[in-house]
């Protein structure tokens, strides 16, 4: 009997390497892998298109130049901006809510932003107040209101119920898209068309004006959100523990809410609702590089850009000369990924 017990004890699970690989090394590895991936994706996107662009022709052909610098390059840059923004916001929201299925789209934040933006379009608020486009403001307000709303609905005491969070996100999305549809019916035809085009989520852009205007908001928001990565890392593990480790939970919560709403609002105002980028990209980064948020956030930023640039290239070229909306491509890829995650997480997550 005794020998059996001893044998069982010897069979106890082996520990593996107790030396953790240094985070700095892991971070360097992320950069070394993802930066080339992003560059490759951008190069491919610039090269491929409905019209082949000859590098030689760029030197002397004004039409090729126009096509490349006014249409294709801005579009690729726009895809990169929106992809990195959505992916990083998704990673941050997942950590904040301790919910692996959270992302700007599933939480209804994109939908709320879209509603705000379509109200602005319908009312003809194309104007800017001291340089700030009202469209951005309306979209940010919609996104922020949604985030606060779903958080309030899902929170009971100190716990945010993961299922309730996602369900309220779904409902907000449905209500918001119904409202957008209603507004579209009521709006005058030219504006209605504008709303429709933008609702599908497309990255059509001419020149760099819009991009520069977005960057004014996005760059500071990215930087501040990255500065919160350690707090988010602790919050992703446990809220009370994070509080006793020196994180100001309330302040981090408000800041991450506002930053994500700003990032999502600005991208939705320009690119419409592009779903699931904020869901699949952070999970891919986790699978590749581990769970530490100080790696997941910047990793999602890089991979998100690469992913949406690639998805947009696919949308532009898959059907020959007919263009697919990029939102359709990401949803076709992201929907199944969501279901797969849901199935996988059931094992240990209370949903």
């Amino acid at each position: 009997m005794n020998t059996v017990i001893q044998a069982v004890h010897r069979m106890a699970p082996a520990g593996g390497d107790p030396t953790p690989r240094s985070l700095a090394l892991r971070f360097a590895r992320v950069l070394a892998i993802l930066v080339p991936v992003l560059l490759a994706s951008v190069a491919l996107a610039l090269w491929m298109g409905s019209r082949h662009i000859d590098l030689e022709a760029l030197r002397f052909d004004p039409l090729a130049r126009m096509l490349f610098f006014r249409l294709r390059l801005p579009r690729v840059v726009m895809a990169a901006l929106i992809g990195s923004s959505l992916a990083m916001a998704g990673a941050a929201l997942q950590a904040l809510f301790r919910n692996p299925l959270a992302d700007p789209f599933t939480l209804g934040v994109s939908g709320g932003g879209a509603l705000g933006a379509s109200i602005a379009i319908a009312l003809g608020w194309g104007v800017r107040v001291s340089g700030v486009p009202l469209l951005f403001v309306a979209s940010f307000a919609g996104a922020m209101a949604t985030l606060v709303l779903v958080h309030q609905v899902a929170q009971t005491g100190a716990v945010v119920l993961p299922g309730a969070l996602l369900l309220s996100g779904v409902v907000v999305n449905l209500v918001a898209s119904a409202a957008v549809l209603t507004i579209q019916y009521l709006a005058e035809p030219t504006r209605a068309l504008q709303i429709l085009r933008w609702m599908i989520g497309s990255l059509d852009v001419v020149g760099f004006d819009t991009i520069l205007r977005m960057l004014v908001f996005l760059v500071p928001a990215w930087i501040v959100l990255l500065a919160f990565s350690r707090s988010l890392h602790l919050l992703a593990i446990d809220e009370d523990t994070a509080a006793t480790l020196g994180v100001n939970v309330r302040r981090s919560e408000i800041a991450v809410h506002a930053l994500c709403a700003l990032i999502v609002g600005v991208t939705v105002a320009v690119g419409g609702c592009i779903g699931f980028v904020g869901l699949i990209v952070p999970h891919a980064v986790r699978l590749l590089f581990g769970e530490d948020l100080r790696i997941v956030l910047p990793g999602s930023f890089l991979l998100g850009a690469a992913f949406l640039v690639a998805a947009d290239t696919l949308a532009r070229t898959a059907l020959g000369s007919t263009e697919l909306p990029v939102g359709a491509v990401t949803a076709l890829l992201g929907g199944p990924a969501f279901l797969w995650l849901l199935r996988r997480r059931q094992r240990y997550s209370a949903l």
Binding site: P18, S22, A95, R230
Partner: protein
């Protein structure tokens, strides 16, 4: 017991909702370098009290003093170097590795925009070794059992190198061997490093003689306090738990407590 207590709770009141007080007028003092147990029936405010002491919650009235200064006036990061708190259970949404979780305990000691140093990793490993859990270090916390996860949370708190450790039912999910091992580890840290520990527990059989003092909570206030042998008396416990079936017996230097089930 010398001078001012390390952690002192004075007439503290708290409720999660207005009109429903959970802690009402609790007062207690935890001397430096001692182990204190907080006992009491379910729902009597033990967990809330320890969360107040950890600074997770703010008292509605009364004050909590650490080293003689107001808990709320101490910056969060400074406080994190002095007090570590282990919640009752930590559900995990993401498959962090054990080492990643334990390393978070080094946060108060590391600059904000720097990754953990080699020294931090060594400290984290020491902490895991201290609770005999080095073999878990590369496992995913989502795949650990409840008891193993509690041990990991304890290692995280130890990696924090606090002066004072606040544990909320640390032994609840532990087996026979690990319950006793936990108490022995705490006692060793108290004797070797002067660590102060406050432990909320239902495990009354482990209290005497390992702990230095016991506070019995009843309806959000301290109903009895003293050395374990003084508090673990049949009449005292019968009143605290409102249970006439409670029996106690002293065997050698320890006190056994049970409630008659027949």
């Amino acid at each position: 017991m010398s001078g001012i207590p390390l952690l002192e709770v004075r007439e503290v009141h708290f409720g999660y909702r207005p009109g429903v007080p959970v802690v009402c007028g609790a007062s207690l003092g935890v001397p430096r370098g001692t182990m204190c147990a907080i006992i009491g029936a379910n729902g009597c405010g033990k967990s809330t009290l320890i969360r107040l002491m950890a600074g997770v919650l703010r008292p509605a009235a009364g004050e909590i003093l650490l080293d003689g200064s107001q808990l709320r006036s101490i910056p969060a990061r400074e406080l994190a170097k002095r007090i570590a708190y282990v919640p009752q259970s930590t559900p995990m949404a993401f498959p962090f590795t054990t080492m990643e979780v334990v390393l978070t305990g080094r946060t108060p000691h590391a600059p904000r925009f720097r990754f953990e140093s080699k020294r931090d990793c060594e400290k984290a490993r020491d902490a895991l070794a201290m609770v005999d859990a080095l073999h878990l270090s590369s496992r995913r916390v989502t795949e650990l059992s409840g008891g193993e996860r509690q041990i990991v949370a304890l290692a995280r708190a130890l990696a924090q190198e606090p002066h004072c450790l606040l544990l909320d039912e640390p032994s609840a999910a532990l087996d026979l061997k690990h319950r006793a091992a936990l108490i022995r580890t705490l006692a060793r840290l108290r004797d070797d490093r002067g660590l102060t520990a406050v432990v909320v527990t239902h495990d009354l059989n482990l209290v005497d003689p390992a702990f230095d003092s016991v506070f019995a909570l009843c309806c959000g206030a301290v109903a009895a306090s003293g050395r374990p042998a003084e508090v673990l008396q049949r009449d005292v416990l019968a009143a605290v738990y409102d249970d006439s079936y409670i029996r106690t017996r002293r065997i050698e230097s320890r006190t056994l407590v049970w409630s008659e089930s027949r």
